[in-house]
């Protein structure tokens, strides 16, 4: 859809976003460290685009999504949505800004108040931000229900009376109520059964087409992300490892972690599965409270070398539209010392500036 032909103004621009959760220990509960859930993340999302955000559990995907909407107070960085820096808005300004940016949550059960009716849930944003009359509100609620394919008769039912897919539709309707421009979808399908996932994904696609929405689509289901996203950011331990157009990433991942991640995905075809060459990573993800000194991935990377253990690589554009944070692709390695890996040095001459 939108490849290299860059529109000038991104709808969302994230610069150096950091989200550290403090750890207090010891006799006096002193601040002894931080969980670096998100540690310097930058990207932008163009209007009408879907950016996929993938990575292992605990790598900070949800935290990015929440910090973006200022559901967490970011430790550092700027989040410019539609021209305003959300990360530094005052409380009242932020409230007024909320309609432009909304979120769809992972667990459709947990994200709906079990004691409110469907109409109450969808109507809540209208109560908070508009001064519609009762009738207008009802009308709007019905409209929204139509939009997400919920029968109008359901308006007075409670969440537990719906199936998982329907519940997620309620969540989406709530997010749509205020005509947002930007929606963060935090694993909206992870809790759903396979046969229902497709319904929700199709709905999201339809809505994007009809309303021109912009999505940040967080998921660890790589095949879904491939289906839905225009560009994909791969996160590892609070940092972006690779940010590439979806097509490129899936055909030829650059970062070793992205490569391993993609190879680990199960191919639902025995023929292909038998032919696939899996990269099995060793060991576990380090704790974000105590990340390695150098590259975050250096403890599990199959192609690690000395520099990786000392210096954190920055995210750099190594091919047009493709950003990678890896010493294998950085300038320093060429100038660097020993152990320069043979491959792919030719890609890293772009001198990306962000």
């Amino acid at each position: 859809m939108l490849d290299a032909s860059r529109q000038p103004e991104p709808l969302v621009r994230v610069e150096g976003l950091k989200m550290h959760f403090p750890i207090y220990t010891g006799l006096f509960r002193s601040h002894t460290g931080d969980v670096k859930a998100v540690d310097g993340v930058s990207f932008d999302i163009l209007p009408g685009e879907t950016l996929g955000l993938v990575g292992e559990s605990g790598c900070g995907k949800s935290t990015v999504g929440r910090a973006l909407l200022r559901l967490y107070e970011p430790t550092a960085g700027r989040v410019i949505i539609d021209g305003e820096d959300v990360a530094h808005l005052s409380a009242e300004k932020l409230r007024q800004k909320r309609p432009t940016m909304q979120m769809v949550f992972q667990d459709p059960q947990a994200s709906l108040n079990p004691r409110m009716t469907l109409a109450g849930i969808i109507g809540e944003p209208l109560d908070e931000h508009t001064s519609m009359s009762r009738a207008e509100k009802t009308q709007r609620i019905y409209e929204l229900m139509d939009q997400v394919g919920l029968n109008r008769r359901f308006a007075n039912r409670y969440p537990h009376e719906f199936s998982g897919g329907q519940r997620q539709r309620i969540g989406i309707a709530r997010a749509l109520a205020l005509n947002p421009k930007f929606i963060v979808c935090d694993e909206p399908i992870a809790a759903l059964d396979v046969s229902i996932q497709a319904q929700v994904v199709n709905l999201l696609e339809d809505l994007q087409e009809r309303l021109g929405l912009t999505y940040l689509f967080i998921s660890h289901d790589l095949s879904m992300v491939r289906h839905l996203a225009d560009r994909v950011a791969v996160m590892y331990l609070g940092r972006i490892a690779e940010l590439s157009p979806s097509k490129d990433l899936y055909s030829r991942p650059l970062h070793p972690y992205a490569e391993a991640l993609l190879s680990a995905v199960n191919e639902p075809d025995p023929e292909l599965a038998a032919r696939r060459n899996r990269i099995i990573l060793k060991g576990d993800v380090p704790s974000p409270a105590n990340p390695p000194q150098g590259c975050n991935f250096c403890t599990r990377c199959p192609r690690v070398f000395d520099l990786c253990r000392q210096v954190k690589p920055d995210l750099q554009e190594v091919e047009p539209g493709r950003f990678v944070a890896c010493h294998l692709f950085s300038d320093k390695t060429t100038a660097g010392t020993t152990g320069v890996p043979e491959a792919r040095i030719e890609h890293n001459q772009q001198g990306a500036s962000k």
Binding site: G26, L27, F28
Partner: protein, 335 residues
């Protein structure tokens, strides 16, 4: 763990100080006066003198600070002197009861044995009864044993001890005359006969309190067991081919006992405080009786000291319960 304990102790100190002020303040503000115990035949001037000599009229903060010093400094000195035959205290003024003019701590120590034997035994008996019942009725949920156990423990929990106590006295002490109606604190256990006598006089109060505590503990045990019986690891244990006995008594019980043990620990300060009502009903002159007597007589130093010791015990046992929790449950690590 160590820092955790230290930190808790650190917090405990201001908490306790605050508690001591609160108690002192509340007890002190009570409108009754120690003079109410003095017979009306004593003329007003003499009363005034007596109150003066008790130090009742000193300003609040003076009395509080004095008490604080006596509690935390003088009394420990006396304790050391008593234990090691030293003389650090050098005759410093101790905390003196208004009504008996004797050191409050002597009274407490005098009364501790009764309280500990009766209430303590009741507690121990309660635990011994409660655990098997709780475990079994959870394992066979909705069986008749469970229904019965639930009913009995509900009854035990619902019927106030003063009622059960009174009923038992009427039946067993008055009508049947099987047991004495007045507890003898002078009894020394020297031989089988006196031991039997001691057991004899403890049966009724122990039964009343034991029933009450057993009811509570078995409720906790049961619900904790039920919680754990539905856990996945139980299925794992069964899938490993473990016998039901091992599954229930080893895997489940070990997990279920964690909250139960802490509940038991939290109940222990009550053993010191004595069950005021039970002591009252069975005429056991323990700490609880001393407290209620002191309240009625407006014996402020006594009330203050007993309540404060109870508060210390509560705080301590809270800490112990927390630590026990950590010791029993490897998942919990206090940093």
């Amino acid at each position: 763990m160590l820092t955790y304990v230290l930190r808790r102790l650190f917090i405990a100190i201001p908490t306790l100080l605050l508690i001591s002020v609160v108690i002192f303040f509340l007890v002190d503000l009570a409108p009754g006066s120690p003079a109410s115990e003095i017979p009306l035949t004593v003329p007003p001037e003499v009363r005034a003198k007596i109150l003066e000599s008790l130090g009742v009229n000193a300003p609040f903060h003076v009395r509080y600070l004095l008490w604080l010093k006596q509690f935390f400094w003088v009394e420990p000195m006396y304790a050391i002197d008593y234990l090691f035959g030293t003389d650090y205290a050098q005759g410093a003024q101790r905390i003196i009861s208004y009504s008996s003019r004797s050191p409050v701590f002597n009274i407490i120590i005098e009364r501790l044995p009764q309280t500990l034997t009766v209430i303590g035994t009741a507690y121990a008996v309660a635990i011994l009864i409660a655990l098997p019942i709780g475990i079994y009725s959870a394992y066979r949920q909705y069986s008749w044993v469970d229904q019965l156990g639930t009913f009995v423990s509900m009854v035990g929990y619902s019927v106030p001890t003063f009622f059960t106590g009174v009923v038992l006295i009427v039946i067993f002490a008055v009508k049947l005359q099987w047991f004495p109606s007045i507890y003898d604190t002078t009894l020394r256990i020297t031989d089988w006969g006196s031991l039997w006598k001691q057991i004899h006089q403890m049966i009724l109060p122990v039964a009343v309190l034991g029933l009450y505590n057993a009811a509570e503990i078995s409720r906790y045990t049961r619900s904790s067991m039920l919680e754990n019986l539905s856990q996945d690891y139980v299925r794992t244990a069964r899938a490993k081919g473990m016998s039901e006995r091992v599954v229930v008594l080893k895997h489940v019980a070990r997990n279920s006992m964690i909250p139960v043990v802490t509940i038991i620990a939290l109940g222990l300060p009550g053993v010191f405080g004595g069950a005021i009502v039970t002591e009252q009903v069975f005429k056991i002159n323990g700490i609880g009786a001393a407290l209620i007597g002191a309240i009625h007589a407006n014996d402020l130093p006594m009330v203050q000291t007993i309540t404060f010791i109870t508060a210390i015990l509560i705080v301590t046992f809270n800490l112990i319960a927390d630590i026990l929790y950590g010791v029993l449950d490897p998942r919990i690590r206090y940093d």
